[in-house]
């Protein structure tokens, strides 16, 4: 049932009271407060992802994977610098790449 179709005088009174509100700059205020266009956002996100992928490729290409000492918890806990430093570099590079990827994805929200 649509209440507007009734002949109830109260409905008539309520409808008459519902008068048009002049815009008076409201639309302009809303439009000026709109967030930046997503095109720019996509450009930024694409750039961030491209840099991340580029970094990953360089890391795979340049890190001395073949010279990386075998991972060993006991040697690591003994703070052996020959083992610790190469793995610290690897962890830093991988961590940076993961952080960049997560940041790029999270920006969508």
């Amino acid at each position: 049932m649509n209440p507007l179709k009734t002949n109830d005088p109260l409905d008539t009174l309520l409808r008459e009271q519902n008068q048009y509100i002049e815009d008076n700059g409201f639309t302009a205020r809303v439009v000026s407060a709109l967030p930046r266009r997503r095109a720019r956002f996509w450009t930024h996100q694409t750039f961030l992802l491209a840099v991340t992928v580029g970094g990953a490729v360089l890391a795979v290409r340049w890190l001395p994977w073949e010279n990386l000492p075998a991972f060993n918890w006991s040697a690591l806990l003994s703070l052996n610098s020959h083992l610790l430093v190469p793995w610290a570099v690897v962890v830093s590079v991988v961590g940076a790449l993961v952080w960049a990827a997560v940041s790029a994805v999270q920006e969508e929200d």
Binding site: M1, D11, L14, I21, F26, V30, V31
Partner: protein, 181 residues
């Protein structure tokens, strides 16, 4: 050439066209601001702030508008959620604060019938006022109002019925006072 709502929505979604969205705002600013003004009991500044938030939310969430309801109905839903969120955040604007007001309106004689109606609407509790404003002022069907308020159809019908009964009673009192003046 005038675009339909669907044309404008398509432009907003495909091109992020702010001018198209501006046209939608221009079309619906009056009902949305009027609706929020009544929900906030005539606080037009708060209503305009909420209306602005409503349209900003609509800009972000327009892709969720499925088109199975009228755009106005969807916007009323967004506006109502904004009002409800604001009411929760602001202690002084609890949703049912009208319950604490006296049932009878002030007996001061008011020669303006419409002003009496405005005052009477303010005295309804939030659920009744919202249902009456949506159905009787903005022309939504009970089903559409239930969709906006995200509540059962029977609840909307009851709130409209109770709200109108109270309005009739209060307006009759005000009218009698006016007649006897």
């Amino acid at each position: 050439m005038s675009f339909t709502d669907a044309d404008l929505i398509a432009r907003v979604l495909a091109l992020e066209d702010q001018n198209a969205f501006g046209e939608l705002v221009r079309r619906y600013q009056s009902p949305v601001r009027g609706f929020l003004t009544r929900l906030t009991r005539g606080d037009s500044h708060l209503a305009d702030d909420l209306a602005q938030e409503t349209f900003l939310k609509a800009w972000k969430k327009l892709h969720t508008f499925r088109g199975d309801a009228k755009l106005s109905t969807w916007l009323f839903g967004v506006a109502f959620n904004e009002f409800r969120g604001a009411a929760r955040r602001r202690k002084e604007l609890t949703l049912d604060d009208a319950e604490n007001l006296p049932e009878e309106p002030a007996t001061a004689i008011n020669p303006e019938w419409r002003l009496d109606l405005t005052e009477a609407l303010k005295r309804l509790n939030s659920n009744e006022r919202t249902a009456v404003v949506l159905c009787c002022q903005n022309g939504l069907s009970h089903e559409e109002a239930a969709q906006v308020l995200d509540c059962p159809l029977g609840t909307v019908k009851t709130n409209v019925l109770r709200g109108k009964e109270k309005l009739r009673k209060w307006l009759a009192i005000a009218y009698e006072n006016y007649e006897s003046a």
